[in-house]
Subunit: 146 residues, 2 copies
Amino acid sequence: MNDVKLTSTLAFRLGTLGAVMTERFSARLAAHGLKPKHAGLLVVLESGTATSQLDIAKLMNVAPSLVVSLADRLEELGAVRRERDPVDRRRQTLALTREGRELLATCAAAAAELDAELTDELGPGETEALRSVLGTLARRHGLPAD
Amino acid sequence: MNDVKLTSTLAFRLGTLGAVMTERFSARLAAHGLKPKHAGLLVVLESGTATSQLDIAKLMNVAPSLVVSLADRLEELGAVRRERDPVDRRRQTLALTREGRELLATCAAAAAELDAELTDELGPGETEALRSVLGTLARRHGLPAD
DNA sequence: TCCTAATCGTTCAGTTCCTGAATTATATGG
DNA sequence: CCATATAATTCAGGAACTGAACGATTAGGA
């Protein structure tokens, strides 16, 4: 019988820490009328990886119908423009507006504050190690990277 | 204007990776009739930090009514025994059974498998660095540690 | 050229997970 | 003892998400 402690497992700790972080992130975004997934959508748009709503849904691992409501909200805030693709008129193309880019920068600033809070009592070496490994994992597992 | 990329932020990456991990964890637990929060409750019980349902709720940052249903399920599986505290008969004391301990070990094994999967392409140094920093963060931020 | 099948966005009903308010049982302190 | 506080429970409801159905558009044969 393998005798591993659940709490000292990477999966468990990433899960718990991740939940804490997205909750804090969510609290900050609320002031701007956004939820974490809105920020996720903005990220996808900025990356240019996908513009049609279906592609975005696949990239975000989310139902297409959810992208609709996320996009509705962002359009409402003027962060995103919806345009029919003239080549294939079934497709809706989402484009970041200037306000959208600003909003994304605001989200990034909020996240940076959380980072500072999180690594408060960490040595600079530890912080850099964490940043580096998380970057590697993000790349290896198909998550949005730089 | 601060020019941080949201995707390269620790908060964002921990959130995303954490979501991926708990989803995978959830998928494995499903085979045993459990959800991640059930595992969380088992962890709390094993730690001995809290036995009354209200204390458990506080520790888990969750509504007391949720603990009721989590405990219901675990009792159903024979993983937990509910006993009225004879000193204060309002309190329900939750105690891990042998089956509960076994179930917890099963969860830990599943998480360990996920760890292996996650760190597949990481060097042993990186893996150890990650484990160490996450341990530190868990301790600093009041999350369950060993 | 039609006609059928596929694709995209959208709507909407339903599921899941969780919270907060009421309820019951018990304890505690003037 | 009585008023008030506390523990567990039940239950209605909210937030977030999914999946099925639909309308509009496109594509690919015969």
